[in-house]
């Protein structure tokens, strides 16, 4: 039937819808990559967009060829199909071109990957905290005045993570019970927390303010609510003030306070 070729429109509309979603996404903060604040995140976004362009062009290209084919070669009275079994030259072309694009893409990622995850590129700084996931909260252990972890003056917070703007920041990631994943969407950082392993993770922030920590690895019935607050301080002094306050809060003694109030 002549009208049968109208099916082409359905496939065309599907392709336009898919392309349109990504074009519109660029204009809507709720759709696009959540705003990034870290230096490595900038590189990751750059890589994401390169892949998006390459795959986008390939996608649109193949869909145009598909729709052109369906429309042009639809069955019609008197139409005769070509009798060909293939063509070596075409096979070689459409093997070599995608192969080189894919190899380029893989090699192009290597630099960023090694800068983020290789142990050798870990900034040589004291870890700001030891982070332990457990069902269903994040524990942050900060060093006290002795600047060493696992001593009596450690400060421990729950679901409350603080660090300083523009400083390379290292954490030691652990888990107490099951797998969790330390995911900072605004920093493009993700790392599983694995029982039995201590995994160093580093990142930084070029913006101060409040952000969110997500648990991204299924960890049980309360997985969905394993959320942490992230605060990036403008200066080290501001961070120190917060840490001091956290310490006072940790050492708060209601009895002493009551005595002080009554005895005064």
């Amino acid at each position: 039937m002549k009208t049968d070729r109208l099916w082409t429109l359905l496939f065309a509309i599907g392709a336009i819808f898919a392309t349109g979603c990504f074009i519109y996404a660029r204009t809507d903060a709720d759709w696009w990559l959540v705003p990034n604040v870290s230096s490595m995140g900038r590189e990751i976004d750059h890589l994401f967009i390169i892949i998006l362009w390459i795959t986008g062009i390939v996608f649109i290209g193949t869909q145009i060829v598909l729709c052109y084919t369906l429309w042009t070669f639809a069955d019609a009275p008197g139409r005769k199909a070509q009798y060909v079994h293939g063509q070596m030259k075409l096979e070689v072309i459409w093997t070599i071109i995608p192969a080189s694009i894919l190899v380029f893409l893989a090699l192009y990622q290597m630099g960023t990957w090694s800068k983020i995850k290789f142990r050798s590129s870990l900034p040589k700084v004291q870890p700001v905290a030891e982070v332990t996931g457990r069902q269903f909260q994040w524990l942050f252990r900060y060093a006290g005045d002795d600047r060493r972890l696992h001593t009596d003056d450690d400060i421990i917070t729950v679901n409350d993570f603080h660090f300083v703007k523009n400083e390379p920041t290292v954490i030691h990631l652990k888990s107490q019970d099951v797998l969790h994943a330390f995911f900072l969407p605004q920093f493009r950082i993700k790392q599983d927390a694995v029982p039995g392993l201590t995994i160093p993770v580093w990142f930084d922030s070029d913006t101060s303010g409040k952000f969110e920590l997500v648990c991204a690895e299924l960890c049980g019935w309360g997985h969905y609510k394993m959320r942490g607050n992230v605060t990036v301080h403008e200066t080290q002094a501001e961070f120190d003030t917060w840490l001091k306050k956290a310490k006072t809060e940790q050492n708060r003694d209601q009895l002493a306070l009551a005595n002080a109030a009554n005895g005064g």
Binding site: D4, W7, L33, L66, W94, P98, P195
Partner: protein
């Protein structure tokens, strides 16, 4: 007489086993590959509905968190008629488990593999008919154990279909890790046994029982794909089986294969361990990455044949197609680490897995170009099998391209475990495998049941499925790149997911998912109505070349009265000198015979 001499060397015997007479041996404990294929088809369809309804409940919770789910909410009267979060975890765990192990694999390899392999290679049955029957009946303990697990204390498993320790190995971790997880493991062991018996049978049958003249490079793509898939299964499944058994031992007799050395659980004073958590992930993905190809290769094969038939044109690049599925299978064994880039695995290993994963996109690209090449210059007939096959090509392109984002390790840092990957996998397994299954059902229904399905309903079903499928799954890429994690029962916990855009997209996807579910009623109606009242099908309704179309619809118990002799590949469409017909079946030595046979059947 020359046929006879040829076939002697191939191990055929010309005596035909008597047809079973009792209902039980004919339709229940049948040894006939066609009946077993149809049994797999029916149980697959039932499980498809179960898996689909589980997914709808998941979607409901994501769109309207904690709003009572219509009908189902009665189950949770104690919880104020709202879905408990652990139940949400059960829903997506079981949705994936059912769809992968009880729907897609059994439908593609069990139903189509069984029905088609002997018919397409010109054999009277599988090499091991009894093994074939066992392979079907091993599915039922699997299904029963899985269903039963919902009713044990703590309920069904909820550690995800990936079932990572230690969530899956310690009973304190979550309610589903009580008996539910043990039953889950036992169920999958049965499903694995079923697959393994099937794949050994397919490999043997394809190697040993090809009709005279059916050289390997004359096999239709469907058979090639089933052959490679069976090899993948035979080599990968033992690894999954050992991983499942190790996890079972960890859970039952305390072996600690997957508990870290000197590990004290949550200050309990109880020191366990000596094993490695990541070991399970390696073993699991060593099977489960190839499993993705087990779920797509048969579809690729079927679609290749269907595209060629309805373009009335030879398959473009037959050998490159064969080499690319072989390459997919080979590379498929060295890419599993791409699921573990953020797992704590050595990042240098991640870099090598990135390279191999990028390379596996290549054979898929080659296949796509060859499919386009097949249609190009053809005489495209938009039948319902063809529409679904075209849908497969169009959607598989999206699934293939979105995979590249995850292969790129740095980009994966952001999108790993988000909805981006959920979108990706559904473009491969629904946009790909499921449309291939639809195409296969519409294409081979006449051969299976001897009746035609209704074309108009088939087209309506395709139109609705294609539309709502894209409405359901495409936006998952968008919310995923925004950062929406997978497997969370309530996105509104996170501020960055509370915007009207994300909420709106979640609701839009859920509404489309419900419509997608409803649209499937059309194919169910069409299927069962046509089963009883469809017009009688001729032997070769699509004028196709493969051997199954040269026996009657449905084929008799012994398939072929006389084992056919194969003279050429299955893709001689529109060759010179075949007018007025444009096809030349594999078993016809002269074109004039085709014309005669054609006149006879009309």
């Amino acid at each position: 007489m020359s046929d006879h001499a040829l076939s002697a060397g191939h191990g055929h015997d010309d005596h035909i086993h008597p047809e079973p007479t009792s209902f039980l041996s004919k339709y229940v404990f049948s040894l006939d590959h066609k009946i077993i294929g149809i049994q797999f088809l029916f149980s697959g369809i039932i499980m498809f509905w179960i898996g689909g309804l589980l997914a709808l409940a998941v979607r409901w919770q994501l769109a309207w968190p904690w709003k009572p789910i219509p009908i189902l909410s009665e189950l949770w009267a104690d919880y104020g008629y709202r879905l408990p979060p652990e139940y949400y975890n059960k829903l997506f765990t079981m949705h994936a488990t059912v769809m992968i192990f009880f729907v897609i694999i059994p439908l593609l390899t069990g139903a189509f593999g069984n029905f088609l392999i002997p018919l397409m290679i010109g054999a009277r049955d599988m090499a091991f008919p009894k093994l074939n029957m066992y392979s079907y009946w091993a599915m039922w303990p699997a299904i029963i154990l899985m269903t039963y697990s919902f009713f044990t204390p703590g309920g069904a498993a909820e550690a995800g279909w990936t079932s990572y320790p230690t969530l899956s190995t310690f009973s304190w971790s979550t309610p589903g890790s009580l008996d539910g997880q043990t039953l889950w493991l036992m169920s999958l062991l049965f499903a694995g046994i079923s697959s393994l018996m099937g794949s050994i049978n397919y490999i043997t049958t394809i190697i040993m029982l090809r009709a005279p003249g059916m050289k390997m490079f004359r096999l239709p793509m469907t058979v090639w794909a089933m052959f490679i898939t069976a090899l993948l299964q035979a080599f990968a499944l033992p690894v999954l089986t050992s991983a499942l058994i190790m996890q079972l031992l960890d859970r039952t007799i305390g072996t600690n294969f997957f508990a870290p050395a000197n590990w004290m659980v949550a200050n309990s004073g109880n020191v366990v361990g000596g094993g490695q958590i990541l070991l399970f992930q390696h073993l699991f993905w060593f099977y489960s990455h190839p499993a993705v190809y087990i779920m797509i290769l048969p579809g690729m094969g079927m679609v290749s044949d269907i595209l060629s038939t309805f373009s009335r044109k030879p398959l473009f690049g037959y050998k490159p197609m064969v080499f690319s599925i072989s390459a997919i299978a080979g590379l498929g064994f060295i890419v599993w680490g791409h699921h573990m880039f953020q797992s704590g695995m050595n990042p240098a290993l991640g870099a090598t897995f990135m390279l191999s994963t990028m390379m596996i996109a290549l054979p898929s690209a080659i296949k796509t170009f060859n499919w386009l090449g097949t249609m190009w210059g053809g005489r495209i007939q938009f039948t319902s099998p063809m529409l679904n096959a075209i849908g497969f090509v169009a959607m598989f392109v999206i699934g293939g391209l979105s995979g590249i984002f995850m292969a790129a390790t740095p980009v994966d840092m952001h999108i790993h475990d988000t909805y981006f990957i959920v979108g990706h996998i559904h473009y491969v397994l629904f946009g790909g495998s499921t449309f291939a299954i639809f195409a296969g059902v519409y294409y081979w229904f006449p051969k299976m049941f001897g009746r035609m399905m209704n074309e108009r309903l088939g087209k309506i079903h395709f139109f609705l499925s294609f539309t709502f499928f894209n409405g359901t799954f495409f936006l998952m890429h968008i919310i995923g790149m925004h950062g929406h994690p997978r497997r969370i029962a309530d996105p509104s916990v996170y501020e960055f997911l509370r915007g009207s855009g994300v909420v709106g997209m979640n609701q839009f996807m859920t509404i489309n998912a419900m419509l997608l579910g409803l649209a499937q009623l059309v194919i169910v109606y069409n299927f069962f109505y046509s089963l009883f009242f469809g017009p009688k099908a001729p032997a070769n309704p699509w004028h196709a070349n493969t051997l199954e179309w040269c026996c009657p619809s449905p084929p008799p118990y012994y398939n072929f009265l006389k084992i056919p002799t194969v003279y050429r590949m299955a893709y001689e469409y529109s060759s010179e000198g075949s007018e007025p017909l444009d096809y030349w079946p594999q078993d016809q030595p002269e074109k004039s015979d085709v014309v005669e046979a054609h006149v006879e059947t009309h």
